[in-house]
Symmetry: none
Subunit: 263 residues, 2 copies
DNA sequence: AGAAATTTGCAAGAATTTGTTCAAAAATTT
DNA sequence: AAATTTTTGAACAAATTCTTGCAAATTTCT
């Protein structure tokens, strides 16, 4: 779609290459013609990107590396730090009361919360997460899926189509997962379509609650998915720094910190 | 028959092999023809995948290493006579070509069809069935869920909210399951909301294909979910009566009858 | 503008990958 | 248990892709 005649500088090309690679694997020849440079140049860019561990080079092309900017696949992610995630989910559960209308976002922490919802009654649960939906199928709660395009890596429904249903709903409390949480800018995630859906939800919610363990804090990913001003409550663990807490409180964000686990 | 336009890079092949293996396609020869590469190359890929402990090689093919990863997301209820349903699904699969945009309804026969879609490439699959969605999660096809209220008994999304997304879509071929199929009145089902969603889909589809084994024919349920005039093709088994076939042909419905099984 | 530094494109040699062939190994049948 | 068929592993050739050195072009700095 972009055949620019103007010469591109290497940082610009690398950005374009990364964007192309986000859609999957790309071969050298294709990148060369899309960017209008020789294959040798593409190779050099890829070498540079590989040194930054952003890309994995393979014979004939390259694919995005599973770096901190990319999500681990769902199965792995769930097992990284289950104890911490469950503590955060427990704290979040305290915010949910019988007969609430809540939204559950994707992500393993929110997934942990969904497992606990049997302890509440008569909820209306709206979600874009197929994992959460599977969990709640037999729960007896009213369950609404937002619909939209399926994103395999996060097992969520995302993209413009989600707007059709989300705009018809009203949500009391939205429980959001995230890839990165930056106390200055807000939440970020890897996929612009996923970010888009998150922003839609935030607009339709009375209270926005972010569930993020402290390893997410300070991390920035590709696409901004909700600014600091949109967030009402952050639930996290004790790994968060005092400085960050102060900064968030200045932005009127309530910070809930789980108790330290005794090991 | 297979669409082999460009060369695939080894990571792409490995991805496809993993997908195929998840579906039970496990012989070297099958993988070789699916991917359009020689058997030696498939073997080399399998060796690589085995080194990553993603696959276990056996004489004649390979099997996936971690089975309890993707399978138990949505529990599957054992079907009553899977043989007949699979035959119907096989016949329906012949109506689907690479790059089609299709809709998959709920029901076990349509579910059987969804399992076979790995044999097609680059489909856009729209569905309201969580079972079908679970099946297609790793398939590589584009997958769109319609969203809406979840009905536990059928594991489908139904009701007025589904209209928001369905009305934004256009469908080539809709594969519909049903509870009852009456040659005079059409399809019927037990839940009015489910019937409502079925009718929406039928309105947005070029070709409406009903998958119903002969035990459904003549049965009428509570809520009408699609008149005879809306139906283009019926795929069923040889239990259908000649009289019914005549009646349907008068209504311009093509009847596809599966071959009798030899046991 | 001119010079220095960096980047880009090209091409030859090196390295990978892929398909084919064939003997050894494994499974199946007689 | 022997014979037949099938599958596997290894070696080799052909084709593609990668690396590297070098000249031309572009950008940057003074």
């Amino acid at each position: 779609m972009a055949s620019e005649k103007r010469k591109l500088l290497s940082p610009e090309r690398e950005q374009l290459i990364l964007r192309a690679l986000n859609k999957g694997i790309c071969r050298i020849e294709q990148l060369s013609s899309e960017l209008g440079v020789s294959e040798a140049t593409v190779r050099r860019d890829l070498v540079s990107l590989e040194e930054q561990t952003k890309v994995r080079r393979v014979h004939g092309g390259a694919i995005i590396a599973q770096s901190p900017k990319t999500e681990p696949i769902f199965a792995e992610k769930a097992s990284i730090n289950p104890g911490e995630k469950n503590l955060i989910a427990e704290a979040a559960l305290e915010l949910i009361h019988d007969s609430d209308t809540i939204y559950l976002d994707g992500g393993s922490t929110v997934q942990a919360l969904s497992k606990m919802l049997v302890r509440r009654k008569n909820l209306t649960v709206i979600t874009n997460s197929l994992m959460a939906a599977a969990e709640l199928m037999e729960s007896g709660h009213r369950l609404i899926l937002v619909g939209g395009e399926f994103r395999a890596i996060s097992r969520t429904l995302i993209g413009p189509l989600t707007a059709n249903i989300i705009s018809a709903l009203h949500i009391d409390k939205a429980f959001m997962g995230t890839i990165g949480f930056n106390p200055d800018y807000g939440m970020s995630t890897t996929d612009p379509n996923e970010a888009y859906t998150k922003e839609l939800i935030i607009k339709r919610s009375n209270v926005v609650i972010v569930l993020a363990d402290s390893s997410k804090i300070g991390v920035s990913s590709f696409a901004l998915s909700g600014g600091i001003a949109d967030i009402d409550i952050l639930v996290t663990d004790s790994g968060i720094s005092q400085k960050t807490i102060e900064k968030l409180k200045k932005n009127k964000i309530e910070v809930i910190i789980t108790q330290q686990e005794n090991s």
